[in-house]
Symmetry: D3
Subunit: 282 residues, 6 copies
């Protein structure tokens, strides 16, 4: 008779066994060198998701007609980065092994490495589609190889040359851009060329990672290292709807929302809407 407060992302409340897509949160920000706060993203996104609707007028579909499960957040031991990545890998692997699509809500971008490690074990020829303001291709950062600034470099060590497609990149050091010219498909500044990339990725197993700071800071101020000159919400929404509908996405994540950086709540609301549109399109 009395109800309990169960906090999930809106409309992600079917049974685990019935779900096609399984969400989980990885609110880790342990290597954030500048302003931490992405640790609060999963909890805040869930709580604020009830401020948006389950119906998308863009796609004319409703989340309530689909089956999503929000599996909560595995507990992550701050200060022990390697163990954090193991826990993320384990959760991702469980979901993949059960034939479902893992949808991770970060956290800093390094959490992607845990998920990609699990995905690469299951899918031998894995491709990564990457939206971001930053190249994240450093060999190391402050002497550490496990850093948000190095995450795509670590992923490159797993998936190899030509398997990473990057869009919206507008920041990095000189060496990262040089590395990209040799080893990844990087499209700078905007999302042009996405159609060509999609054609190349068609039929491949694709892991999709969305660093929300690819958005212009006017749209998405709530992130630790905002980079002026990004894409609009409509550009990103259309790009993600297109990719999620067209490609064989086998796993994905949305990361780098830092709620304390934006007290207006606008960034969290935008993140919720991006996640809704992706969930519906997938």
């Amino acid at each position: 008779m009395l109800n309990k407060n169960v906090q999930t992302f809106i409309a992600c409340d079917c049974e685990y066994d019935d779900a096609e897509i399984v969400l989980f949160g990885a609110g880790f920000d342990g290597t954030a060198s500048f302003r931490p706060g992405t640790r609060f993203a999963p909890q805040t996104i869930r709580s604020e998701s009830f401020g948006i609707e389950t119906y998308s007028p863009y796609q004319d579909k409703d989340m309530t007609d689909m089956r999503f499960f929000d599996s909560g957040d595995p507990e992550l031991p701050f200060g022990n980065t390697e163990r954090v990545l193991d826990i993320i890998k384990e959760r991702t692997k469980t979901i993949l092994d059960d034939g479902k699509l893992p949808f991770m809500i970060g956290g800093e971008h390094l959490v992607t490495l845990g998920a990609v490690r699990a995905a690469a074990e299951k899918y031998k020829d894995l491709y990564i589609l990457h939206f971001d303001a930053h190249a994240d291709l450093r060999e190391e950062y402050l002497g550490e190889k496990l850093s948000h600034a190095c995450v795509l470099r670590r992923c490159h060590e797993i998936v190899g040359d030509g398997h990473i497609f990057q869009f919206g990149i507008r920041s990095g050091d000189r060496e990262e851009f040089a590395f990209a010219r040799e080893h990844t498909f990087m499209h700078k500044f905007d999302l042009d060329g996405l159609k060509d990339a999609a054609a190349a990725l068609e039929g491949k197993n694709v892991y999709l990672t969305v660093d929300l700071d690819v958005l212009d800071p006017s749209v998405f101020p709530g992130t630790g290292t905002p980079e002026a000159g990004g894409v609009t919400f409509e550009e990103l929404r259309q790009a993600l709807t297109f990719c999620c509908g067209r490609l064989d996405i086998i796993g994905c994540d949305v990361n780098e929302l830092s709620p304390p950086c934006d007290q207006s709540g606008v960034s969290t609301a935008a993140a919720c809407k991006i996640i809704r549109e992706m969930l519906i399109a997938l």
Copy 2:
């Protein structure tokens, strides 16, 4: 010899009898389900209005050449929604009966219902022009018929089919969009088609209601339920200048600014500028 502090919207200080347009505030946010704060809008807008100029370079006109009166805020009893609407209706009716144009500063969007009730009593064939991110067409919300989420539905009960024109709508549940297809002219996502609507409304008595969250949250983060993907300031400014100049607006309101949601003050400044441009164009 000593001056008193009289806080009005900038340049709205002529005598009541001389005024053509009469402002008042209705800072009610009693049905806000999410984040309250629009109660502070009238006071904040007045105080910050002294940060803008009375001269519009867009229209090359100056407010000081016109006659506006700011009649202050009637006291609203929080917790008693029906009585609040009565008080708003009464104030609107007084202004209309004196042959002046009422310009209400909300508050949450429900306040529009009080004003429309008064307007519909005076003008039998009333049309409503509605700018908003949300359809506001629910039959009820949390079991209540008097809610900001239902305000246009309540207005529809007054003005009837085909008398409501909606622009910029990008959020609502499935039923609201279905209702709109049957009963209102709804233009989704942007302000295209406004010229056609203006042609249809020409010569009609039009009540204009502007929910400022029709603006993109990048431009207007200070609102309780921000919806990414909105219109730019220039688009809204041009649309409102056009409508105020072209149509027979018999009353209007600007609502849903929530100052505590935007500590930068940018949203309040945008609201002030929208109000100035409307006042000059009317």
Copy 3:
């Protein structure tokens, strides 16, 4: 295998049938005339409760040895005050009828009225013990009888003369203090005289209502109408531990935390600790 996020107050997770004390939230702030925000208190208190310990070094006892159940928040329709009170009364009645002690987390102080209505139906000779900075004894406020500023006056209509004991009161209008001299036991400014009151209340059925603004604003800035000159945390903690241990408390509430008013989180942490100490002592 995968866990769900169940958000309760810390260590309040036994089965309902086993519980001796049942918490629920009533995050209503619909009559707040000044700064709203207490609506966020139940959710914030639960989430921040994991920042305190379950063990009290003051009482040398641990919450984990006891049986509490957090029954979540009944959905409250903002804008319809009477219906809100009915829902609160219903929840309180259910808990009382099941032989358990209801522990409500407000919300504005008016929520107490719903709980007292239920308690007075069950316990014919009900006493109220009231800690507050404000007398809350107005006949009406802005023309409304159902207002946070009138809640003890409404309670007085139920329990009658001499059945309300008030402590810490340091604000009100002249009439409220005059009313108190006639109809309640009011102790102004501090908590002296509590021992005498406890002696008088011994063996009676007592409803305990704690408006946290009885605390000094230095300790508890997170409230809508802070009143300088209040009691210290230690004074209130000792008083409540004493009362909860000594008296026959048949129901209680803790209210008027407004999380947005205190971004430091200090007020929420203090509220959590007060609730822990009360739960252990009851």
Copy 4:
């Protein structure tokens, strides 16, 4: 029929000619070297004053039985300190010449100099009673003689040795404390010895200046240069009630509230209450 918003301090709305005490605001913070913001104090204090009651349970008196007038804020040209002081002096002089008591709300502490200049012209043997955390006795600050850090030194040049009584002082450079030993009666750290000072000041013309940072920052965080280790609200309230009732206060000010430094509003509420208690006691 329609009301205007006239923003005065609560219950300060009698006619000028009838008033015994005349308030005005001097929101100048042009020499603030650290964090500006006191410019917003008069406006914020007025607006928040409606959150307190007109009745004082401490003195059992009500402001509505007395006659106060709030004359608003003279416009102050930021950037031209000397002219600002002239304008303050002029306003003070007008009020004094009309046989009323000027009550100034700062602003930074330098505004006191303008008022003291006017007071010293009217009262030849003027004494200053000064509550503050800082000595404010520097000869110059950053090369300037007109600075908040020098204001009592400038006042000393007007009223001379032995005419300044300082309480609560707990910060300053070595030279300021040395100067005080020679030229003022300074009581460090707390308000002990106030009774002796009052005895010495009895029958003298006393200008009372209250820098609210004399309060402990826990009680009053909203100030530009908070100094830990201050007095409690009760200590200051009692001291000011005592002085205002006992001494011949011919003018006074309350200054250094910086609203942006305290988003909780607690400091502003404390300032309002201090002003109410002073107004009633004077």
Copy 5:
């Protein structure tokens, strides 16, 4: 062996004698009539500059290949505007006399006057290229001639008719726009026509002053008087890169960032990036 914290703008750490461009901060906001805070801009910009990269993917160049020196902030006596301008003029003159390019970080816009005074002494036929939302052409403001609202008017008195080119202007009183029609080249609202202006300015000695509020408030909310309807970051970035590369800029400044107005840090990050692009392009 132990390092000291030397806070400069990123990569501006060569020796003074080797530098081609010399930065300094002028965090003066003494005439700000509305919301102060630009005083914190130089310090905040330096500290946050370490959140951007030294490499520009737009220009494919790296700051580390060039020679910049950050000479810190001369101490400015708040409250004495004329002396502040003298100090700024002195610093600018020293840098110019040493054959280097002065790059000032404001501060409110009035600081430009100090720099222009020095530049006009060295370069007899000086032109000013001005990006701003506001015309800043008032004869006086609140009775003062030295005000941020008058700075270009004061500059006009120095450089004369036809020597000031203004872009992006969308706010001012009627007289300012009338003045501009007679005495300056003003381009309203956007940056169109910049190519023509550049052609006209080619070969002239140009002082470049950038009031960052020329940006749309969505991109740059952190300023005291935000004006909706501004230019995008990309538009400004391209315009400044073009001007700095094409024209003979003999000195420049970037001003009106007010860090307290934007707690997200987005505005500061945008300012840092603008400065980086200018430094590389100059």
Copy 6:
């Protein structure tokens, strides 16, 4: 001729070789489980230290008469806790080996472990004097032994039974208090008994660690896990002055200020004053 910005703690600018006390910052918050932010403490403390005076009226001494050196912050790799502790140990060891007293500014409390490791290598019979709200005696936290919640437990492994004296402790789990009864001298809730402890510690080598959350949150809200019911500023100031003057302190730290948790700046100002008083007393 041109100055550089060198940011040190106020009056800590002598040459390293001349210094008796050497400060450094260790802004590590990598294991903070709740709200991060102590990483910003060293930078913020230095910058805000210029808001206090160098002269202490409490001790009637001036920092400018003594010789302190602020050696800046060693760069700490977030995400690699063991390496962070090594770097802190190294810096501490260098200072100790040069015969100077290391004064570390945290950072979360775990940083103390690095310093104690260095101190214990030099001083065989080391004692620790510990002020804190929390016992910090857990064996592990979230499966990690290197956590702020375990730091005194780790220190106990180094210095052994009876070598740790704890004051002000008012939070912990049951096991921590049980551990303390066996292995440390713990004084709960307040600072009583400090004189006895000082007598016992006289002549011993004492490392002093001050977790500022021992202060009441009213005085010091700016910390990640505020615990109501703490000591006053005066109590802590007197206790630390007494200990620093009486005991053979061979190293010390002040930690757990989290500037983002307190936007008023009051907590940072209190921290600066505590550090000043300790530096003068040592």
